[in-house]
Symmetry: C2
Subunit: 478 residues, 2 copies
Amino acid sequence: MSQENSHFLEEMFYPKSIAIVGASPNDPESGWMGRLINFGYGDRGEIYPVNPKATEVHGLKAYATVRDIPGPVDYVVFNIPARFTPQVMADCVAKGVKFVHVFAAGFGEIGTPEAKLLEQQLLETARKGGLRMLGPNCMGIYCPESKMTFNIDFPKEQGNVAFVSQSGAESMRLVFLGQDVKLYFSKVVSYGNAIDLDAPDFLEYLSADEKTRVIALYIEGVRQGPRFFAAIKKCLQKKPVVILKAGLTESGAGAAASHTASLAGVKSVWDAFFKQTGAIPANTMDEVADIVQALVRMKPPRGRRVAVVGRGGGIGVIAADICERAGLKVPPFARETRDKLTQLIPEAGAGVRNPVETTYGMGGAADFYRRGLSIVDEDPETDVILIHMAIDVYGSRTPNLAKLAAEAAATLCERVPSLKKPVAVGLFSGGHPDVIAAVTAARDKLTGAGIPVFSGVESASRAINKMTNYYEFAGKQG
Amino acid sequence: MSQENSHFLEEMFYPKSIAIVGASPNDPESGWMGRLINFGYGDRGEIYPVNPKATEVHGLKAYATVRDIPGPVDYVVFNIPARFTPQVMADCVAKGVKFVHVFAAGFGEIGTPEAKLLEQQLLETARKGGLRMLGPNCMGIYCPESKMTFNIDFPKEQGNVAFVSQSGAESMRLVFLGQDVKLYFSKVVSYGNAIDLDAPDFLEYLSADEKTRVIALYIEGVRQGPRFFAAIKKCLQKKPVVILKAGLTESGAGAAASHTASLAGVKSVWDAFFKQTGAIPANTMDEVADIVQALVRMKPPRGRRVAVVGRGGGIGVIAADICERAGLKVPPFARETRDKLTQLIPEAGAGVRNPVETTYGMGGAADFYRRGLSIVDEDPETDVILIHMAIDVYGSRTPNLAKLAAEAAATLCERVPSLKKPVAVGLFSGGHPDVIAAVTAARDKLTGAGIPVFSGVESASRAINKMTNYYEFAGKQG
């Protein structure tokens, strides 16, 4: 069980029973019922299929209406067309349900007077009945701890990242991007039209959620502006908040108006908000995932000076440029550091100034990690270590490629935890299947050990910069 | 055979015989000899292993010295330590060799007086003997047409992209990045220390090379400045040139000085050069690959207004922002276009303004491609079509995911060639193996049909912007 959060949403994230209205024996395994069963919710709560035409769904007794369910019902999913929702909502009120999740679309977002009226009626029924509503037009909740999910492919692993998303598809994208690097979630909420429960509710809950260390937010438009901004500030007092605010350009604002009828807001207002609060802006979902990974897995750096380590001279130069363009610096190491590195890798010639060019072959990389990383860690002129690994350049025919790449990754797993500086790995992918397999294995190994892995130097440096901005801001706030 | 290019380097790219000095029976298949044999060079020219201690290497008769080879020798690879190179160079001069490629490092780049002297001696011998030299400290030539390669994993397919690279590892990276999207090369030169043949030589050759449609260049430092810039301008009169100029930041300049002892040059000079010549600047090797792909595969657009098409409302808003930040616009479609799209996809509600939100499921995507793309193509308010495909969001359990994704890709392959507007596809990857397989198959199918595929909207829009800049500049030049 969760450590109790006294916020009223605790029962929404950890319901003791869930009813699926509109569950059908014909639903695929990936439907609402199948997901819950597959995810193991049955081990911690009751699942009630509701369908007047069925006696049993996926092996569980079906009920004609929510009112017919014998035990108490905490949470109800409306997996039914919009037009049937008012009656089911009335049933839920009669039953004393606490939370409903209206999955169906076809409400305010389509803009017709009828649809808006339907939405309004639904809200009134819920309000009068003292019941809180998620949606309509949303995917709802993913909470591995309470075994709730809206996608059968989502990982069962619990993590400490929360994601509040106005878009259902984007909520899935972030979970999958996270899964690629073994970054897992405490809670994800896709909240859709938000005619009742809205972003500030989730943020207020998450600010006090001990299971959540980092909060990410995808948002197009803001209602209840002051409450929304106050909720973010409340979160920021305790943990970082990464925000993908879509619709900040003219093109994007037009698109947002079409998508969720959101007034996207003025860019200057948001710029000022980010500057004043220390909330972390991101422009793409990949960037959100990268920043979150940096925040969860990297120690706060002392500053923004990067030590770059890896095989290849050209990539070192490119990496230094990328770092500086991202807002970081790649300064020369202290004389003492350079002397020690020259002793270690005399054949590298000039490649010890920063970037460090490790010697040829993956074996050379592992060897440098084993003996050289601690020298870089002691360097007084740099604050962060960025290791780039380009397994593709070694080529598929490198004898024992898989073994060498695994050894390099294993050596990092062994050495990184003892380093004082935060470490990031930029792991380039490759085209040859053998190289892809070696890259994937290395990424799994590294991220499994909690070492952050990015798709390259550009994404790594961007994330390091934004993470550093956050800590600098937080530091100034005392 | 190649159409004759009267430039003297034609014989370097298409030698009739190659000797490998330092070839050994113990070399792996991926060594210099094995690569040439594996690549099929033996079908078009003679391969001579040179090794005084061997009688045969990989099934071919070995010679003690280059002088002992019976027939004429056009091209010699020095696969030997630096200290042995002067003697072999003298042999090559005596033999009447036309080109030598000094693979070995340990010359000017390590900075010792001895190494610099060795380099100087090598150059003098070559010059006196009328022989031209590639290197030292470089990978040399990859030319699928003449079956020369420096990496056994390189594709045998010929393409129309040339790459001139000061870095060996980066030359490999671009070839592999290209291979991922079936983008192939006419010629790649890794030229290293360039004490004799240098970037301007290759550029002058490529400007007249009918096999090359787009030129990419990775460069850290420039010697012979005026000749170099003149050579690029000469290329630009006939074809686009994409340049990754590394070392343009303070951090990068320091790194470049260490890597190739290059004076990285002043950023303002390069900024002015790019502005005045229409050469296309890129910051990362991925960006080089993306821009090249856009140039090779997309028609010149009339302007920079993008029609965005794909499943998912949130990604549409994000995409619009990304496009505008990249220098493009996502304006509303003309009224007529919107009316036609509304008729086609009434349930999409507002998602016809631009971005277009295709209906749910990959089947819906294929259906839209079949019936809706031509409407978008006729829209007068947009110039380029950017299709984003997020197969991951459909999830691995989508019934027939692979089949649906394949159908979507096949439909694009069928429809895109008849469209008047240039088309780009942003294909997001995914975490689940089944999704990755579907993405990979879709990418292979699309790129096989010559449709450009990018890793997402960000990389696509960046490439479209830079391609458009190029055509706008070229258009102004008349």
